[in-house]
Amino acid sequence: MSYRVKRSEFDDILSKLQEDYKIYAPTRKKDKGTFSDTDLVLYDRVSSLEEIDFNSKTKYSPKEVVFPITQTLFYFNGDEYIEAEDKGEKVLVFLRPCEVNAFKRLDKIFLENGPQEDIYYKRLREKVKFVVMECTEGFDSCFCVSMGTNETEDYSIFIKVSDEEVFCEIKDEKLTEVFADQESTDYTPEFIQENKQQVEVPALEDITTDLFDSEIWKEYSKRCIGCGRCNTVCPTCSCWTMQDISYQDNENIGERRRVWAGCHIDGYTEMAGGHDFRTTYGDRMRFKTLHKIYDFRKRFDIDMCVGCGRCEDVCPQYISFVGAIKKLNQAIKEEKNNG
C-alpha cells in the first residue's frame, strides 16, 4: 500500500512512529567534520523530517545500530558476571538499499557463523525495521550495481522525498495505521540501475594462493598508512576486540566491553608475547580485499562488499577499492596468460 504525504504532515507521522520506535537516519552535524568548518553526516537519532539528510552519503554506515562502536557485554562484581541489560527498544532506520544488504552480511557473521548466535547482536537486530530511502542516482564512488546490492525487498517502508511530498510504500502491516489518514497513491519504489563506477568481481575459481604473493599488493605497502578508516566506515566490517576495565572509583567492579577492530590497524593480529602476522600494509590490503570479494562468498555465497564506496571516500591516501579489484582482475589475467 502506497501513500502520498505532505512534507508538512510527515513530522506528525514521525511523532506517532516515535511512540514505539527510536528513529535513526542520516543527519548532519554542523562543523563536526574532521576538517574545520566541515560537517559530519552520520546516522543518529532524529525526530523530524528536517533533520534527515536525504541527499548525502553518510560518512559512517548504519551498522552502529546493531553493532555499537563500544558495547558493554557484562559487568564484573567480585566473582560474579552480570549480563549487560538490553533496553529492548524498537528501532526504525532510514537507509539505502545497499545498507539493507549490508545488514544481511552482518547477520551472516553474527547469527550464522560459528557454533552459537551472538546474543548481543541478535537482541538489537531483531528490533530493527528498515525504512528504505529511494536511491536512484547514487554517488560518485558507488558501485552497488556491480555488487548486486542496489535493490532490496526487505523493508517496512520505502520512501521517496520530493520538494512538496513524501511518497511511502508500506509493507509492514503494523505500520499502516500511522498512515491511515493519508492519501493513497500508486507509488512504486525504484532502484539505481547504473553507477558511475563499474567493476567485475573475479570468479571464485580464479583466485589462487599464487595471487597472495602478487606484486599488486606490494604497491599498497607503500601507499596504505594503516589508519583503519576503510574499516570503520565500512557497513560490513564486523570485527571487534574485547576490553576489560575496572572502574576507577571501585576496582572490584568493572566491565567487559567490545569495540570495533580493523584489519588495517596495527595490533589486529598481534598475539600475547608479541608474535604478529600481517605486518605489511600490502598484506592487510590483500586480506581485506579478498575477504570482501572472495572468501566471504566462498563461505556464505554472497560477497561481503556492498559497493557503497565509503572506503574510497575516506582514504587519505586515495586508495580505491574498485581500483584494487581491477588490479586483481589484471593479475588474474596475467596469471592465466603465463599459466
Binding site: Q116, G254, M271, A272, G273, F277
Partner: protein
C-alpha cells in the same frame, strides 16, 4: 533462555605446577567435555581474556599450561590455589585421534606446542594397544624451557614410545641433543610410510619447515596434522581476528590437516 556464550564460568584452581621458569600448569576443577587439542578462553575479570589450549583433562578437571607472556597470563602468575579463573569453551575442533589408532604416530612439538598434544600422548601412553608405535620429537629453546620434564621421562621409559628430545641451545649440564627439530626428522623410522600419521605443533616457522622435512621423506600432505595459534577475542567465529582465507581458526581449527593448512595464508 539461551546461555550467553561470552560469559565465563568461574572455576577454582586446584593445583599449580611449575613446568619451567615461565610456564606453569594450572589444574582447574571443572567437568568439561574436551577433545584433545581444543582450547578454552581464560578470563581474569577486569584484566582480559585469552585462548589457552587444554594440555590435559580428566573427569573433573582440565589442565592449562600457561606461559606468562601477556597482559592476562602475567596476572594469572599472581594467582594461587583456591583462586578462580573464568573459563569459556572448549572451542575448536581438536585432533582426530580415531584416525591415529593402529598407526605409527609421530608427534613433533616445539616449545609450548607440546601442551595441546600432551593429552594425546598420554592417551596413547595409557592405551598402548590402540597404536602401532609412537615417536615423539620434542624441541625446546634451551634446557630451562623444557616442559613436562617428569612426563617426558615417563614416556621415555615406555616400551612403545620413542622419544627424541632436543634443545636449540644447550648449556654446561646438558648432555642431550642440540639442534632444531627439523634436523632430527631423519632419525625417525620411515619404513611402512603408508601407516604413518604425523602431528606437528609449534611456532609457525617450525611447523612449516618440519612439515617440509617430513614431506622430503615421502610423508604425504594428508598424513600431516598441525595446530594453529592466532589472536582471538571470541572463540566462536564472530570477532574476526583469527580468520585466514574463508576459515575461522577458532571454529574449523585450530587443528588442520596439512592439505588444508598449506592454503591458509595470513
Amino acid at each position: 533462555m539461551v546461555k550467553n556464550p561470552y560469559i565465563p564460568t568461574a572455576v577454582e584452581i586446584i593445583s599449580i605446577r611449575p613446568e619451567s621458569e615461565v610456564d606453569y600448569t594450572y589444574r582447574l576443577a571443572i567437568d568439561l567435555d574436551v577433545d584433545n587439542g581444543q582450547f578454552v578462553e581464560v578470563s581474569i575479570p577486569k584484566v582480559g581474556e585469552c585462548p589457552i589450549s587444554v594440555s590435559d583433562f580428566g573427569n573433573d578437571y582440565i589442565d592449562l599450561t600457561i606461559r606468562h607472556v601477556g597482559k592476562v597470563t602475567n596476572q594469572i602468575a599472581n594467582l594461587e590455589v583456591g583462586d578462580k579463573l573464568g573459563i569459556r569453551g572448549p572451542y575448536g575442533n581438536g585432533f582426530p585421534i580415531e584416525e591415529y589408532q593402529g598407526k605409527d604416530l609421530v608427534i613433533a612439538a616445539g616449545g609450548t606446542g607440546l601442551a595441546p598434544v600432551k593429552s594425546i600422548i598420554n592417551h596413547f601412553y595409557r592405551n598402548p594397544e590402540e597404536i602401532n608405535s609412537l615417536t615423539l620429537l620434542l624441541g625446546f629453546r634451551n634446557p630451562a624451557n623444557i616442559l613436562f620434564a617428569d612426563e617426558i621421562a615417563k614416556w621415555e621409559e615406555a616400551d612403545h614410545i620413542d622419544v627424541i628430545l632436543t634443545v636449540d641451545e644447550g648449556d654446561e649440564e646438558w648432555a642431550g641433543n642440540v639442534g632444531l627439530v627439523t634436523g632430527f626428522v631423519e632419525q625417525i623410522n620411515f619404513t611402512d610410510l603408508a601407516n604413518k600419521e604425523v602431528v606437528i605443533v609449534g611456532p609457525p616457522i617450525m611447523m612449516k619447515f618440519t612439515s617440509l622435512e617430513f614431506m622430503k621423506h615421502d610423508i604425504k600432505e594428508e598424513q600431516i596434522w598441525v595446530s594453529f595459534e592466532r589472536k582471538m577475542s571470541c572463540g566462536i567465529g564472530k570477532c574476526g581476528h583469527c580468520k585466514m582465507d574463508d576459515t575461522y581458526i577458532c571454529v574449523e581449527g585450530p587443528v588442520f590437516n596439512y592439505t588444508k593448512a598449506k592454503n591458509l595464508v595470513d
